[in-house]
């Protein structure tokens, strides 16, 4: 297998890696790479989770075949490079959806496992890993089939940042849906309390809150709560995706632009709310219509901060939002969701509570603010999401993940020589003895 020397980044484009990348297309080629280094998917994680600077890494995007689907049970067998958006596109018209979908359809099955991703249905469905019934794991000594009964390896692999080996393929229990359209209700949430009340009160299958992270004072926490339920029927298919053809200049997301955008975004939903029928991707992957939207942040890139805090710590989250809103640093699309308790692995992000995600362009003030927000998260008994992180300190993250020791022990056994270390795991010292 040939390697290519490349400079590459995660979605946020702040942290860079330079190293050798292989991109196999055949199972035998992939098997030969399992002793070379970790794997990466479509690099939709924001920071350094998919990077291995100075070392070798395997790009899984061409290992993207669907190996089987049983329409009786709904169990799908797919190679790790298949994207969740593609699965939705193929199977929704036949009445099946991936059980959990993160905010981008470009995420791969392998990435969804390594990050144990969650979606807008987390309260009902739990995380992605809860629906994985089997996986094929390529380790330093060969391939093995891992099932939920294989503990602790199974729980160390789900949400395990790729440290137990390369996931070659997985079986996933797909979820029934009524069709490939979404009945979507959008409602205005005038302030923080109203926003939480709408999220708490919703029993829709899919729920997400978009939050105006520039609104302050009485309007703090205002936003739009979207609720969705799948349906069958016909809607106009959306136009082809657009592209951001170049890195935007710094002014593109300056505070006045962001404030104006947010005001318009909020006002576009009528006071009484509205219900409409849309293609499913409109609710699941609203930003995928603009390819390479990360370039809007310019060449320097951006950070996303995402934390979850327990239900009882909602006030602490409000204080964090207030800190963000008064900083003048936030960008347009901040997200607030309620999470259930479902988590599948030792290092899974979810906990029952509220999760907030905010983007910041890469500037010194923003980096300092993210540091503050991390401290506030820790004090509130919450945790930050490693798929998004590019700034956290190891000591703080290690304190947020109580099952870290169990994970570390299982990983030490699966990969004793540190073959699958990534920049993220090194930066946070996750595999180092406590």
């Amino acid at each position: 297998m040939r390697f290519r020397q490349m400079d590459y980044t995660g979605w946020g484009r702040v942290l860079h890696a330079s190293g050798e990348v292989a991109r196999p297309e055949r199972s035998r080629a992939l098997a030969a790479l399992a002793a070379e280094g970790p794997a990466m998917g479509n690099r939709r994680s924001y920071g350094d989770a998919p990077l291995n600077g100075g070392g070798r890494i395997t790009d899984m995007t061409r290992m993207n075949r669907i190996l089987g689907f049983d329409p009786e049970t709904g169990v799908l067998h797919a190679e790790a490079g298949v994207t969740l958006g593609e699965l939705a596109e193929i199977f929704a018209p036949r009445g099946w959806l991936p059980p959990v979908m993160p905010g981008t359809g470009f995420a791969t099955v392998g990435g969804a496992i390594a990050m144990d991703v969650h979606g807008k249905n987390h309260q009902h469905a739990g995380s992605f890993g809860a629906h994985v019934t089997e996986l094929e794991l390529l380790g330093p000594t060969g391939a093995r089939t891992v099932t939920p009964a294989d503990l602790p390896l199974f729980r160390a692999t789900l949400g395990g940042l790729g440290q137990t080996g390369i996931v070659a393929s997985a079986k996933i229990a797909m979820q029934r849906c009524k069709g490939d359209v979404m009945v979507m209700t959008e409602r205005r949430a005038p302030d923080w309390d109203g926003h939480l009340a709408l999220l708490d009160g919703s029993d829709a299958p899919y729920v997400v809150g978009w939050i105006d992270a520039t609104a302050t004072g009485a309007a703090l926490g205002r936003g739009i709560v979207e609720e969705g339920e799948t349906a069958s029927g016909l809607v106009a298919r959306p136009r082809a995706a657009r592209r951001v053809p170049f890195d935007a200049p710094g002014a593109a997301l300056s505070p006045p632009v962001v404030r104006a955008f947010n005001r318009a975004y909020y006002a576009r939903v009528p006071k009484a709310g509205r219900t409409s029928v849309r293609p499913i991707e409109k609710l699941f992957f609203p930003l995928d219509k603009i390819h390479d939207w990360n370039r809007l942040y310019g060449r320097r890139g951006f950070h996303q901060f995402q934390c979850v805090v327990p239900l009882a710590a909602a006030d602490a989250l409000r204080a964090m939002l207030e800190r963000v809103a008064t900083s003048g640093l936030a960008s347009p699309l901040a997200v607030l969701k309620r999470m259930g308790p479902g988590r599948a692995g030792f290092l899974s992000f979810p906990m029952e509570g509220y999760t907030l995600a905010v983007d910041f362009p890469d500037r010194a003030a923003a980096r300092a603010l993210v540091g503050e927000l991390e401290a506030m998260t820790e004090a509130a008994g919450g945790r930050i999401y490693l798929a998004k992180d590019s700034l956290a300190s190891g000591a703080r993250v290690r304190a947020m993940y109580p099952e870290l020791d169990a994970w570390r022990a299982a990983v030490a056994e699966a990969d004793p020589d540190g073959l699958y270390l990534t920049d993220l795991v090194r930066r946070l010292g996750l595999r180092e003895a406590a």
Binding site: R2, F3, R4, Q5, A22, R23, P24, E25, R26, S27, R28, A29, R62, R65, I66, L67, G68, F69, L76, E79, I90
Partner: protein, 243 residues
């Protein structure tokens, strides 16, 4: 009417991209290649994506006696047939220079094997109707020091396809020659090559070309003009170049 495609060299990167498009529109598929495990995975993928009747058949383009199961299966399927030939191998010219025994297999993969197969199936195509997609290469348009054995094989195949087109046109069977430039696949991974295109784009160009009943297409299309210029360079000058 249901369509059936016979794909030779089905596990190649470009063929895989085409097979995916065909599966999505419900075509029947006879997927033929050397690697049984890869063929089975591709067949499973095609079925999951909506392909009609799909079978995986192992064969070796260098061994004509391995063709008969494919020809038998082709006899059995109904409706118009399209044969798409993606087989080929491109050893480094330096390897060939060091070991001229590599010339015969290079010719077999890109020229003599495909020609033998197409010749055997031509009567069935004439009887049933359908089309042929033959994949050549821009390398066949002019011999260059860096890959002229491969280029010669592809040039020979293009000449055969033009004759076959002439023969089968009388029976209403369309023959399209595809000349790809560099394509971003496992074979070219890590090389720096000009005007590279993706397997998905090549697959799209093939389907578009067939629909419009084009005789010869270049993909990426810009290669038609590049090769026009390269072919126009007079031999006394061309022989001093080294690209």
């Amino acid at each position: 009417m249901s369509e059936t495609w016979i794909i030779l060299g089905a596990t190649s990167s470009i063929a895989r991209a085409l097979v995916r498009r065909l599966a999505a529109r419900g075509a029947g598929l006879l997927l033929c290649g050397r690697d049984a495990a890869e063929l089975d995975a591709l067949a499973a993928d095609s079925r999951a994506r909506g392909a009609g009747e799909t079978a995986a058949l192992t064969f070796d383009v260098r061994a004509p006696d391995s063709f008969s199961p494919i020809l038998d299966a082709a006899q059995r399927c109904e409706g118009p047939l399209t044969v798409a030939v993606f087989t080929g191998s491109m050893p480094d010219q330096a390897e060939i220079d060091a070991d001229p025994a590599l010339i015969a297999p290079t010719l077999a993969d890109s020229l003599t094997g495909p020609v033998r197969f197409l010749h055997e199936i031509a009567p069935l195509l004439a009887e049933r109707g359908g089309s042929v997609v033959g994949v050549g290469s821009v390398a066949g348009d002019r011999g260059r020091v860096t890959n002229y054995v491969y280029g010669a094989a592809k040039a020979g195949f293009a000449t055969y396809l033009s004759g076959l087109r002439n023969r089968l046109a009388r029976a209403g069977v369309h023959v399209m020659t595809v000349k790809p430039g560099p394509v971003d696949t496992a074979l070219t991974w890590g090389m720096t090559l000009p005007l590279m295109t993706s397997p998905e784009a090549v697959a799209g160009d093939i389907l578009k070309g067939l629909k419009r009943r084009r005789n010869v297409i270049y993909t990426a299309p810009v290669w038609r003009w590049v090769m026009l210029v390269i072919r126009a360079v007079p031999e006394p000058i061309f022989k001093r170049t080294s690209f």
